[in-house]
């Protein structure tokens, strides 16, 4: 398998658009020099080259098996987690005191792009381990940090997130797993968790589950949920070894459509009344703790949509360059040899669509990670960091959803480029199409995120966050207006920004009347509108940098071509995607509520 992502594009984003070298001027990142960021990406490339890529197909064909209560996964998973642990990359972004290296998250995301495009399923193991260790470091006691988190960041043990229950998926307020207080301060955990990714396997000596449960007698709803560390094996009586079975049983394994290398488990806690959990932080605050991790994980899911779409784009591009079929539409001469399919406008459209989605999604996500780094750099509680925090809170949900939803469409177009071959196991597109499908479901479905964006995000702090974001967009528009080639696109974006504001005001006026059903009925379409508009902004931002390079630098041919392709793809996005806003705005300002009324009219028969 050949190229699955563009290192040149990552360099463009990190060095030219986001100028991450500037981060090293802040004390939090002062131990880095820009060349060290290159080395981190080189390390990711080595891990991808030597472990991940080779196992991508075989780990799909040989999916995890639950045999006699024990899950066996593909052996290369162990190699991958070990390599990541040895390289110190599981927790690279953590503070020094927590075993990390204070690597900017934007560089870590670029590393994930490299690894994930090679094997998206394996990356889940280290992502979940980092997320659960980070929860313990953020809110757990020193004892929990020392006993568990320190052994997770090295990859010796792995972690899992146990949220969903059979009756509580999107609605976590209905969690019923129960924690019974014990006299020694521990809790006995009883309940079931479903869809637990990497919830059991044979690659590490212990698995540390971060479990949401309700302490016996706690209030109903989200205010009664607490967070617990529940290891697969707990410490023996004198605390020297972790070899006591903690009554966490693998009841079942889901046979999924994609991402088959990562087992999704049905876990039962306390079937023998012997599953001990340790409270993380304060009682009843579990969900707010978990949301910290979930926000990070949401960006990670957006990355998932992006890196799978990237791998699909390069696979279909390679095929399109090599597959002769038919002749150019203006050429009727059958004596001539067939042309490569990349020469057909519709194939080019599919490829450009993929490129626009992949590089647009990546740019949006890296912008968010860069805001996260600015928050670290400026100090989480400082006034200067607040605008970044507000924009991050607003955009996390968009940066999860747009790449997830559009990643699915992009991979689908990639498969289409291959025609019948795309539907076979001889090419990786069918696997990628299965793998990417989960991204709009993980960490909150698109429906839930859309409710969050419209119902909460745009109005939070009296609408301060969208105001800050729009100011950033206006800065790009003003800059783009100084280039003749970009000016028409700056004008288009300004018009769409106005349209977004009008639509938002219209919907908020419905909310003001107290009709939430009507207000939120088409939140999903509002999310689509918001995503297209912000990705259009991020494309304009890239085009500005590309245009500046073309004007001010003496470039090699390949570099000229790179920058020109950036501007061309930006134009494609505006001419083929941004125009969809017109239809979306028409629907969103139309008061005919067909979905709200459909049930009582007896539509679904």
């Amino acid at each position: 398998m050949n190229k699955q992502y563009s290192r040149r594009n990552l360099d463009f984003m990190l060095k030219e658009v986001l100028q991450v070298a500037e981060l090293t001027k802040f004390s939090y990142f002062q131990d880095y020099t820009p060349d060290m960021f290159d080395m981190v990406l080189d390390t990711a490339e080595e891990i991808a080259d030597k472990i991940l890529r080779n196992a991508y197909v075989s780990s799909d064909r040989n999916q995890p098996q639950l045999i006699n209560g024990q899950v066996k996964v593909h052996p290369a998973v162990k190699d991958y987690v070990k390599a990541m642990g040895d390289a110190g990359m599981i927790a690279a972004t953590f503070d020094y005191e927590n075993g990390g290296q204070q690597l900017p998250t934007v560089v870590n995301a670029a590393s994930e792009m490299i690894r994930g495009s090679a094997n998206n399923a394996f990356v889940m193991f280290t992502g979940l381990t980092a997320g659960s260790a980070n929860l313990i470091f953020s809110f757990g006691s020193d004892e929990l940090k020392e006993k568990y988190a320190q052994r997770m960041v090295t990859g010796e043990w792995t972690g899992s997130m146990c949220l969903t229950e059979p009756q509580a998926g999107s609605s976590l307020s209905d969690v019923i797993t129960t924690a019974f207080p014990q006299s020694d301060g521990t809790f006995k955990i009883k309940g079931q968790k479903v869809f637990i990714s990497a919830g059991d396997h044979d690659i590490a000596d212990n698995i540390i589950h971060l479990v949401l449960a309700r302490i016996e007698g706690a209030p109903l709803g989200t205010k009664g949920i607490s967070l617990f560390v529940v290891p697969k094996f707990r410490a023996n009586a004198n605390g020297t070894e972790f070899n006591v079975d903690n009554d966490v049983i693998s009841t079942g394994i889901y046979h999924k459509m994609g991402q088959k290398a990562t087992p999704a488990m049905h876990l039962t806690f306390g079937d023998k009344d012997n599953s001990i959990g340790y409270l993380v932080g304060e009682a009843n605050k579990g969900l707010s703790y978990m949301f910290q991790m979930m926000n990070e994980a949401r960006l990670g899911v957006g990355m998932g949509g992006t890196y799978i779409a990237s791998a699909a784009y390069y696979a279909s591009l390679e095929y399109a360059k090599e597959r002769p079929q038919g002749r150019k539409l203006n050429n009727k001469n059958l004596e001539e040899e067939q042309t490569y399919i990349i020469n057909h406008p519709d194939v080019k459209r599919m490829l450009l669509f993929q490129k626009a989605v992949v590089e647009g999604s990546l740019a949006l996500l890296l912008e968010c990670y860069h805001w996260q780094d600015m928050i670290h750099a400026l100090g989480k509680t400082s006034e200067e960091a607040k605008p970044y925090q507000l924009m991050l809170d607003l955009m996390t949900t968009v940066a999860k959803t747009y790449p997830a939803e559009m990643g699915i469409k992009a991979v689908n177009e990639g498969l289409q480029v291959l025609g019948g071959y795309g539907y076979t196991e001889d090419f990786p597109l069918e696997q990628m199409a299965r793998d990417v499908r989960i991204m709009s479901i993980y960490e909150g479905t698109t429906g839930i995120h859309s409710l969050n964006l419209l119902g909460r995000g745009v109005t939070l702090n009296n609408g301060k966050a969208p105001q800050l974001l729009f100011n950033e967009i206006m800065k790009s528009i003003e800059l783009a207006n100084t280039f003749d080639e970009l000016k028409p696109y700056a004008e288009k974006l300004e018009k769409e920004l106005g349209r977004l504001q009008k639509v938002t005001m219209h919907l908020l006026s419905i909310a003001a009347k107290g009709d939430n059903e009507a207000f939120l009925a088409d939140a999903n379409l509002y999310m689509e509108f918001f995503g297209i508009t912000t990705v259009a902004w991020i494309w304009l931002k890239q085009a500005i940098v590309a245009k500046q390079a073309l004007i001010t630098q003496s470039l090699e041919e390949s570099e000229t071509s790179f920058y020109e392709s950036k501007i061309h793809t930006m134009k494609f996005f505006y001419h083929y995607e941004l125009i969809k806003n017109y239809a979306l705005a028409t629907r969103l300002t139309d008061n005919t509520l067909l979905t709200v009324d459909s049930e009582k009219l007896g539509v679904f028969q």
Binding site: M39, D42, A83, M89
Partner: protein
């Protein structure tokens, strides 16, 4: 133990090869450079030997400044310091002269390098260095252990392997599976920038220059001939491929 590891900075194996200046220069534009894969194995074994026996590992590159990211990576993997001889590596003898010049001054117990580079693949530098220093050279070494001042070596020979012992100092051309590949870890990356990298000027001048590079002829299209049509195959080999 004092170990010198000679590393090359070479185009990634997937790089698109093209030339400039009337096909007299390799076109570096857009090409990713990596540590020579065989050199990588040599470095990995050197780091392991240092962990077992103590001592130092110095990395040496004969090349221009654009090789420094590769050198820094070697430092991140575990070398203690590095030397770059600031010149274009024009030919094997010139490169060997630079290595021998430094080795003669520093008295290394082991001089390791890949069995060959993967750009020009001459595979003779280790032999030339040893000759210039007047010490033994062995290649391709697949296994290396050190006991006292004796090296226990397994090398690949035609149709099999040869186990032998030799006294230090030695020059060895290495290949897999001499060590497990190593990747730079975060701590290594953090410390690499503070490790010394000395740049020195070359001695003497290269003996060769490149008149012209030429790419191999592109591969022809594959034609499938049914097994029962051997006659057709022979005709095509005679008339089209012209190899019979």
């Amino acid at each position: 133990m004092k170990i010198l590891v000679c590393v090359t900075s070479v185009p990634d194996t997937t790089a698109k090869i093209s030339f400039t200046d009337g096909d007299t220069k390799f076109n570096k534009a857009g090409v990713t450079y990596i540590t020579g894969p065989y050199d990588d194995y040599a470095l990995s074994r050197a780091v392991e030997l240092k962990e077992q026996h103590g001592g130092t590992v110095t990395v040496l590159n004969v090349g221009e400044a654009d090789a420094e990211p590769v050198i820094r990576k070697c430092l991140a993997i575990g070398a203690d310091d590095a030397i770059r001889v600031n010149c274009e590596a024009t030919d094997s003898y010139f490169v060997a002269t630079q290595i021998a010049n430094i080795a003669a001054q520093e008295k290394y117990d082991l001089i390791l390098m890949g069995r060959e580079s993967i750009d020009f693949n001459s595979g003779v530098v280790h032999g030339l260095v040893a000759e210039l220093l007047g010490i033994p050279s062995l290649s391709p070494v697949m296994k290396l252990d050190i006991e006292g001042s004796t090296a226990k070596i397994t090398r690949e020979i035609e149709g099999g392997k040869e186990n032998l012992e030799a006294s230090l100092p030695l020059v060895l051309g290495c290949q897999e599976p001499i060590a497990e590949w190593k990747i730079p870890n975060m701590r290594g990356i953090m410390t690499a920038r503070t490790k010394p990298l000395k740049v020195i000027e070359p001695v003497g001048e290269g003996l060769t220059s490149t008149d012209k590079y030429e790419l191999p002829a592109p591969k022809g299209a594959c034609k499938m001939i049914l097994a029962e049509n051997a006659e057709e195959l022979i005709t095509l080999l005679k008339t089209e491929a012209k190899v019979l």
